[in-house]
């Protein structure tokens, strides 16, 4: 190709003044031509480049990398592109550049020259540094954030764990406090009752020796023992271990039946009102205990209104939803509410939280047992229900009892006919008495004799079975439930195998056992709760003996 002179000038100008550096080097790598742009960048005369190699103008790292990496690369692939290197200016400063290089070969494949193109990369290198710095900062921030998250999670977990531990400790100490209070209360009350019994007995002993009248002391001792029996009954109620005899009930009917009793209990200054819901659902509960609970609440209400006031008994159908039930740890569903509201002094929150604890009372010494509300609480819980206090100091208190709805159609129970003369019935029927405690065995035998029964005593199931075989005239097996070896329930089953017509009456002081499950009597089981009076024993025996086999 031929160029005119002006074209050559133009190309020379383009080569010299293009915005990039150009270098041509021979096959041996020595520079033959360099443009003005490159010379200006490095601050050197053209002549100082000729005969040298490109790598001679690189910094030390560039020299090493050129020799170890880029020179071999160009030999192998004939070029290299966009390699970042630093050139050293005449004044010693470095110039960041991007370098492309390519080998030019003739038709025979012989290397003619090497063309090297250099771009000024000062700006680009600065951006890269900023970018790398930003990336490093972002990575560090990310790392710190992750660490912070980890720390936070760990701290939350630790805080939660510490909170749970302190709550458990608090709960435990509260429990211990309650147990202490309970134990102390029982000991105190029992001592008082025993004091009555013991002092009556010692007086009895003296008076008997002198041949004086002793009826007063016998009555006092009985009173003390009865109060002790009452205390244990209340304690069992609180511990939800009393024996329940639930029956279908209409709470409205029950409240109406109680109105006379309540009016008498409340006295003249307290007005009684009933707000009874129409269409109230049936419940399934122990009637006596529910009555006693309502009475208990009414007495508390009365005591909160010494100046008089109004007591309202209200019934309603209620649905306790999932959220509320979960909070209160009860089953959600349909309940019948019986609420007792007074216009009395109300309770501060710290009293409300302790109101159900046994032996906790706000009444003066000698006025309250501290067991009334805990007994109500125990009964309601044992019946699958729920009790809640709403109270404002100076305005009054509402106690709400919730008992589960009974879904089956209720059948009104037959009223129990108690003939007042049964206790005195004299019969010579034969009773097999089984009791492992020798003293109880002896006293009970004496009571049975007094009631006119013939008694055969046995101290355990084995003796009982032998007696049963020896005395075919035995009509009734009267046995304790909890005994070492074969228990009362198994003994009764065994005896019935041999004597299907045999009547059975169980007795126990403790409800959680073979015949009482979750506090509810097995059907068709006759049970006399210990301790029982002679009257109760007489009535129960006649009931069993005269009932169906």
């Amino acid at each position: 190709m031929e160029f005119r002179a002006d074209e050559v000038d133009d190309l020379e100008d383009l080569f010299d003044n293009a915005p990039c550096g150009y270098i041509a080097a021979g096959a041996d790598g020595r520079i033959t031509k360099v443009n003005s742009t490159f010379c200006k960048w490095l601050g050197r005369e053209k002549s100082t480049f000729i005969g040298h190699r490109f790598q001679d103008f690189l910094n030390i790292a560039g020299k090493i990398y050129y020799e170890t990496h880029f020179a071999p690369l160009m030999r192998m692939q004939g070029y290299f592109n966009e390699v970042a290197l630093d050139l050293v200016r005449d004044d010693g400063a470095t110039l960041p550049v991007l370098v492309n290089a390519i080998e030019r070969r003739d038709d025979a494949g012989n290397l003619r020259f090497i063309r090297i193109t250099i771009f000024n990369a000062s700006d680009r290198r600065r951006y890269e540094r900023e970018l790398l710095e930003a990336r490093r900062a972002a990575e560090q921030a990310n790392t710190e954030l992750k660490e912070l998250n980890r720390t936070l999670e760990r701290r939350i977990a630790e805080a939660v764990e510490a909170r749970i531990k302190s709550e458990q400790a608090l709960h435990q100490s509260q429990k211990m406090e309650a147990v202490g209070q309970l134990t102390g209360g029982i000991a105190h009350d029992f001592n008082n009752m025993l004091a009555v019994v013991l002092s009556s007995l010692s007086l009895l002993e003296k008076r008997l020796a002198n041949g004086e009248d002793v009826a007063r002391f016998i009555a006092a001792a009985r009173e003390g023992a009865n109060r002790a029996a009452d205390l244990t009954r209340r304690l069992l109620a609180y511990s939800r271990q009393q024996t329940l005899a639930p029956q279908p009930l209409n709470a409205n009917q029950m409240v109406a039946d109680m109105s006379e009793l309540l009016r008498r209990t409340l006295g003249e200054t307290v007005r009684l009102e009933s707000v009874l819901a129409g269409g109230l659902w049936q419940i399934h509960a122990d009637r006596n205990l529910l009555e006693s609970a309502i009475l208990n609440l009414a007495i508390n209400a009365r005591d909160a209104m010494p100046e008089g006031g109004r007591l309202t008994i209200e019934t309603a159908n209620c649905h306790l939803d999932e959220t509320y039930s979960a909070e209160q740890a009860i089953l959600p569903g349909q309940y019948v509410m019986v609420a007792v509201t007074d216009t009395g002094s109300g309770m501060p929150p710290e009293v409300m939280t302790k109101a159900f604890e046994p032996f906790f009372t706000t009444k003066g010494p000698g006025k309250g047992t501290g067991l009334g509300l805990s007994q109500v609480f125990g009964f309601v819980k044992q019946s699958g229900g729920h009790i809640k206090i709403y109270s404002e100091v100076g305005h009054g208190t509402t106690m709400k009892i919730y008992l589960p709805r009974l879904h089956q159609t209720a059948v009104a129970p037959k009223p129990l006919l108690i003939r007042s003369d049964v206790a005195r019935t004299v019969s010579h029927e034969v009773i097999l008495l089984v009791e492992d405690d020798a003293q109880v065995l002896s006293i009970t035998a004496q009571m049975l004799h007094d009631l006119g029964y013939e008694v055969i005593e046995a101290r355990n199931a084995e003796e009982a079975l032998s007696a049963l075989a020896a005395y075919p005239e035995i009509r009734l097996l009267f046995t304790d439930v909890v005994m070492p070896g074969m228990n009362g329930r198994r003994l009764a089953d065994e005896a019935r195998q041999r004597r299907p017509d045999l009547k059975v009456l169980f007795t126990t002081g403790y409800a959680r056992n073979a015949i009482v499950h979750n506090g509810v009597l097995d059907p068709e089981v006759n049970l006399l709760q210990k301790p029982a009076s002679a009257e109760m024993l007489a009535i129960k025996l006649r009931e069993v003996l005269d009932g169906a086999p």
Binding site: I60, A61, P72, V83, A84, A121, L132
Partner: protein, 267 residues
Amino acid sequence: MDILRRNNVKTMGSGSRAMVFAHGFGCDQNMWRLVWPAFADGYRIVLFDHVGCGGSELSAYNPQKYASLDGYTDDIIAICRELGIVDGVFVGHSVSAMIGAIASRKAPDIFADLVMIGPSPRYIDDGEYIGGFSEGQIHELLDFLDANHMGWSQAMAPVIMGNPDRPELGEELTNSFCRTDPEIAKKFARVTFLSDNRNDLPAVKARCLVLQCSEDIIAPQAVGEYVAKQLPNSQFIILNATGHCPNLSAPEETISAMKAFLEGPPD
């Protein structure tokens, strides 16, 4: 572990005597593409990549093991044991020339002849000893690597780095030979340029050929002369080739020098 796969070992040729080629810092077994075919008729050719270079398994890179040249030496000994090589020829370029010397000291039975191309037992000057670089210059090199700017990474970044699932992209990269992991290359540079293996040289029992390039700034002539002098049994040849890679820039001259050494009478 499969040692041969770890180091991307290739064996070729029809001879019974083994000739093991070891590449230096900055490339991989491609370094030898113009040299090994000349020996394929007479030798069993063994090519490999150091761990961290070329087609080696990057996952096998263990910073502790490769913190000195001993780690690389042990790899070569393991490869040769695996291949059952005895009395072979070792051809090492640049830093691998020293790796060959250490291997020869550690396992003298493997190599009877060593060919060292551009060897340097120490790059930094030390009193009377001329290594070619001042301590400051070598630290300038290491600082430059630590700056890790993008142009460098882009130029040398291997396929394996960015797109392990699309290896075809590697072929489109700017510079597709001598792929290297920039992070490993940085550590390899540190090990190479801070090494001092002068004490290994007198213990080498094998016959040695030192091939010295003209105008090699990595391994200047004074260094090559020092190496030849310290080796008990060596020949020293200065090539007309300039630079540091005569195996690429002047393969014929390199081959003929090697053949003259290998076929010449043992002295």
